[in-house]
Symmetry: C2
Subunit: 158 residues, 2 copies
């Protein structure tokens, strides 16, 4: 649903999941932390300066985004992300955890294979500073306009 | 686990879930989009300028963060977040979706009750620009240091 890959897309995450290291993927097999029958966890190749060693949880099969993910895979993503967040707390001694998951190129999804980012957070890091600065308190009547739109479409979506 | 509330914490999300509107919560009952036996969805009170009408998915019971969430609630959070992402695509005609979930004050968690943010994304919005600018390609050997730490702690965490 709302897919953006072409038939010749060389999926860097599928390559990693298949145990392949070549010029089409940045993933190294050494980055793999965990694998089960449905999902895998890797250290992400790109890092945010204040959140070194952040990880991604990915399905083993190719699903492009959140809209496409089968429910049993989504359940497992939750279980493993919770376990990895707790593991990161122990391993990195971090002070918090932020998860993020981008969908579609307009949403800054670069690898077009579902991946949930899990970032370690530290007291005073500037990770979210730009979003926090742009955060504004809305008026209840402004919110009504949006809740009305969502409630109208919700019955159409399973 | 890793909790930060005190006994007298007036949880703004619990108040919303109980149908209460008062000075201790910004949530209005008009912000409620969806409710089932385990989770509720609201239009968030604070908005990011480029992502108006963003929503939060919350458990009906009080669980502070990702570490604490019971598995059946986590499963339902996944199901509802997927459905809401698809609903937002229809209702807002947005070009992408980003989810984010913060844990602990150091992770910029303000309301100390688990909430998953779901943001509409649009072509050319500047939502993630600060993080994208700070993103750097790591070296495989740097990543090994972190994957080793995680693999050491993982067996201790269920």
């Amino acid at each position: 649903m709302y897919n953006h890959t072409t038939a010749d897309y060389k999926c860097p995450i599928c390559l990693g999941n298949a145990g392949i290291e070549n010029e089409d993927t940045l993933l190294k097999q050494d980055d793999l932390i965990y694998k089960d029958d449905l999902v895998s966890v890797y250290i992400n190749s790109f890092w945010i300066d204040t959140a070194k060693g952040h990880i991604i949880v990915v399905p083993n099969e190719h699903y492009e985004n959140l809209y496409d993910l089968p429910i049993n895979v989504g359940y497992r993503i939750f279980e493993v992300s919770q376990r990895m967040a707790k593991t990161m707390k122990l391993a990195y001694k971090c002070d918090g955890i932020t998860t993020r998951q981008n969908n579609e190129p307009a949403g800054n999804q670069h690898a077009l294979h579902f991946h949930l980012h899990i970032f370690p957070r530290y007291v005073g890091d500037s990770f979210n500073i730009n979003l926090t600065k742009k955060s504004i308190l809305s008026e209840p009547k402004e919110r009504s306009e949006y809740s009305t739109k969502l409630k109208l479409e919700l019955p159409k979506v399973k």
